[in-house]
Amino acid sequence: MLPGNGGELLTPRTWQTVPGAADTRIFAEIRKADVISSNSYLIQTPDLLLLVDPGGLLSQAEILATAVTRCRDDTGLPLMVMLTHAHVDHFIGMQACPALFDPEHSILAVHDAGAMAIERRDPNLTQGEVLGREFAAMPVGVHLFGDSKCCDTIRTKEIRLPHKVTISCVRDRFSPEPGIYIDRECLLFSSGHRIELYHTPGHSPDSCCIRVGRTLFIGDLLFAANPGIAGLCGWDQDDLIRSLEGMLAMFKSGTIDIVCPGHGRIITVNHACTMLEGVLADARALTDIAELNRHRAEETARFAEDCMEEINELFTILAGRLYYVAHVMDELGETDMAVQAGTLMDGDVLDGLLESFREFAAAHHAQDHVSIHLALKAGQVIGKLERSFMKDKVARIIDVSLVTRAGRLLSSYSTMLRGFTPPREREACALCTVIESVIIGLSGPSCSDDDILASTDDEAAFSRLLLARIGTRPLLDGIRVSFARGTDDPCVLIDRDLFSDLLTYILEDLVGTGAEELALGVTTDQACATVTITGTGGKNGGGPASTVRGFFLRLCERAGGSLSGECTPGGHRYTIAVNRAA
């Protein structure tokens, strides 16, 4: 998702020949991928200057304007600004830059749907609402694909450009392979040159790919199934799948060499093929995702910060526990096992990722940026954690409960960012049985003394059990726990896994901050069951914060209950209310 600021196939900010078009030059402005601004490509043909996507930043537009002005002074060619699609990060930078927006010398060309969105200042289709950017209405001189939605016969029309240049525009349906069709519009110049446009909706209704020679400008097609991108207003899964299938067939037809995306580095067609196959697989899985509007972006960003707070704590504990195991094994002279435990998580990488989010979030709040940026940054950090987290190996050494919750935490956020609702499977459960199961799970060692003694003849098994015995530290070991469960076991409607996670988080919070005694109780009335968890005692910790963490509140809501917390004399109490099953 975030390739480097690369331009290996084309040197950025340098005029060079377009592959497959000897008398055509290109000047590429390549940016590290983000949602603030797109890449921009300025192309000089014998007939005109073509600027593909001027981007979302004034500074970027000014660099392009300088190149355009010099080029126009030398050649006298008119400028056509063409958008791969009308999202604000692809065009808003040109608004304050007269050299790119001067009707005497330039004309704006956008697919008809995008053209209307720009002319009407539509904040939704242009993503101005989600990205927090307003723009002025602009006249769009050329509505590409403007006659009708589809075209079964060849149609020709003329387009008048500035400087009295007239070009022919031919519309047809292109078939890169039998059974696959893409709407195409070809701009034909008197010199014999042509620029081809392919309508590839899905990311947005107006998305187009633009072909010059053997180079294809594909806008955001490679990112259209990404978390935080899929589901934007105008996004359409069926259209996207058709567009991806069409362009994949075109890529495989051997007519394209270089692919220039709207964000990130330029790639070869072979690389693009591999990436597009991945995008297609992702797109096919994106059934029933929620629309990513401003409200959902804000909700996702809040969830991101809650999750990152828990991830920060949980992963620091996981890394610390592995250091602890390595330390103990080292003390015992078991160097190999110490190394094995100490290298399962790279603490420096972990700390770096967590710190990068913290710094990003601090800058984000200081500058009052839009929510989607924070949500995407969290997605980036969590994606890296998910890829590097060797869950199965870590779970062989330290508490499965910790590892499982860490994995669930990462996947919950990824799920939400992708536009799905994190799963909640509420079912009728015996509440006291669930609570007792959590208490038992947090009370005993991972393996018994007998297990360890029985393994002494098998060196590998003994090592494995010894590591697990040291790495697993029962949370409630040494803690006085009482559970007043009442006479019956009320049947309640909860997501058992999420409720168990919540109870574990709460018990960890109380014990971790110094409680030496825990009292759990269940009371019921006709409609509800109420669980209280009170932690008292301890002299080293001051008890958890007086306000309940947002993450706990959300987790409880997803589990099927409501949560409150209060300080008590010498401790802290959490109260969970859940509905009884009918």
Binding site: V325, H327, E355
Partner: protein, 110 residues
Amino acid sequence: MDITTTMHGGATVLAVNGRVDTTTAGDLESAINSRIAEGNRRLLLDFGGVTYISSGGLRVLLATAKKLRNDGDRYALCRLSPEVHKVMKLAGFTSIFSIYASQDEALAAW
């Protein structure tokens, strides 16, 4: 993060304020190592002002424990915030280190 060093009899107290994270853990380690290199082997870390500790910070605490395990050495922490206490407790560190509620309590135990 800032560190204030004071001497109490034969003990050295490093009072740490701020975040012990990826950018500051190295500074804490350097400060500790300097005191040990000077021959101060009775070390109390006062974490009353520490609001956050990263895995890198935990590693520094463990590395110090390895350096201070001779007869006569002393190494402890005091005044942990609830957040830091929780991370250390759940990571298993409270079974390695002596942890006290105050400087006075720690020094009295030595």
